[in-house]
Symmetry: C2
Subunit: 255 residues, 2 copies
DNA sequence: AAGTGGTCTAGACCACCGA
DNA sequence: CGGTGGTCTAGACCACTTA
């Protein structure tokens, strides 16, 4: 086998190699939790440079098939690709999909202790302490508010209170400023819900009319919830849009 | 400057370089649409190997700051990071968030020509031809259907018709099987909507009660729409969940 | 035709961390 | 301590694309 082999395929070697390894993982040559051979071994056995091996393994990592640790080696973490499509967010602000700067009107602020209902919604134990805010979001030029939000913040994050107590606070802005560096994960739930009577009054919407109920949980270290926003949007005032794009392409059969 | 310089920082060189370039882009040394110097120039001017430059540029690409094309060069596409949080989908099936295999019941099938309303929803010109299906999605163990879906498919994709005409078709399955290789983008819209009378009857739901209206557009080549699913989910039967995770971390000041 | 990014090799040293 | 992946160098040829 010479240097350039034949490579009738147009694919780079690292793609060919990645595909081959992916197939071997899928067909059971390596099982979940098994170790892939070290880079140098793969390099020798496949007659490519270590760089090419690393490029291939990077590809498998992007597919979510393997995870790598020094000294330990390369572990199989999945048998088939995990992340074919991805959507992205440039900032927390975008999660709320503002076209322009929104204004928030804080209606109330008080410390609360989670009762059963709140505990369920917040995914915490009963009795946990939270700082609760009620707010209306307004859009310039519109008479009716866009949404009614109940905002729960871990009391440990006191600076949030100060941010919100400012006149004309920007909830998203405070989240950005105070949290963005720390928030490692955001979980979002979107449901259909009738607009509750109290919210409807504040929102100038028809009580029990259709609405979106969106809960957004902000986590640090991927597990601890530090803030939750539970929002009601009456029909027609807001919608969630998402663009999923393919992250990588399957190679065409062959081999 | 020696080989190893001083590097009091623990960061690899490609990270340092990426951060420096990101800062230069942010502070206006390079403007939107400008070209970054070629790899070889950066390699010489920063006294690092081309490989290190490429690693740094890969990082900037991941941040969405630059896009690269052969012969043309490296173009600045944003002044600040674009994709701090990402969500992922392992397959098209997951878009519909099935816990188990759903069953679809096809109610009707007919060719249609887009009228104004359909054209608006599908984002196409009036008069465009589509193959339209109506379907109910059932979940085993539940008496009521989960959703009512109007499905529009580009007639060019005939095999879809065949797939759907099979007994007990799996819409997601056909999308997977017939489309997955080609679909490069999916756009999803989630709105609040009252359940229309016809859908309510089929779904055994209260007419005009709150529901989710979800439109999913399937695109090839990132622009041509080949299929659209417009679904109604009555309250309590379905919800959309998303997990956004930080993709990369800002480097700590320094430098 | 020429210059860009894309791929690839052969080597080297380093940092981490489990045995 | 030794072996792993992580970083880095100095080269080379290739493929694409547009001026």
């Amino acid at each position: 086998m010479e240097q350039t082999a034949k490579r009738s395929t147009r694919s780079p070697r690292y793609v060919t190699l990645a595909d081959q390894l992916a197939r071997e993982i899928d067909t059971g040559k390596y099982g979940l939790g098994d170790l892939l051979p070290p880079e140098l071994v793969l390099s020798r056995s496949h007659k490519v440079s270590r760089h090419t091996v690393r490029e291939a393994l990077r590809r498998l990592t992007d597919m979510g098939l393997i995870s790598r640790r020094r000294r330990t080696g390369t572990t199989i973490t999945a048998k088939s690709p995990q992340t074919r499509y991805t959507a992205s967010l440039s900032s927390i602000a975008e999660l709320f999909q503002y076209q322009e700067k929104p204004r928030y009107q804080i209606l109330s602020e008080k410390p609360v202790s989670a009762n059963a209902h709140v505990a369920a919604m917040l995914g915490c134990r009963r009795g946990t302490k939270w700082l609760k805010f009620e707010a209306l979001r307004h859009q310039t030029g519109k008479r009716e508010p866009i949404s009614y939000t109940e905002f729960y913040v871990d009391p440990a994050y006191k600076e949030v209170g100060a941010s919100l107590r400012r006149k004309n606070p920007l909830i998203y802005a405070f989240v950005e400023r105070d949290f963005e560096e720390r928030v490692t994960e955001i979980r979002q739930e979107v449901r259909a819900a009738a607009v509750p009577v109290r919210a409807a009054t504040l929102l100038k919407a028809k009580p029990r009319s259709p609405g979106l109920h969106i809960i957004r949980r902000f986590l640090v270290h991927g597990e601890r919830v530090i803030a939750i926003a539970s929002s009601i949007y009456p029909e027609g005032r807001f919608h969630v849009t998402l663009r999923w794009k393919v992250q990588w392409h399957r190679e065409r059969a062959a081999v």
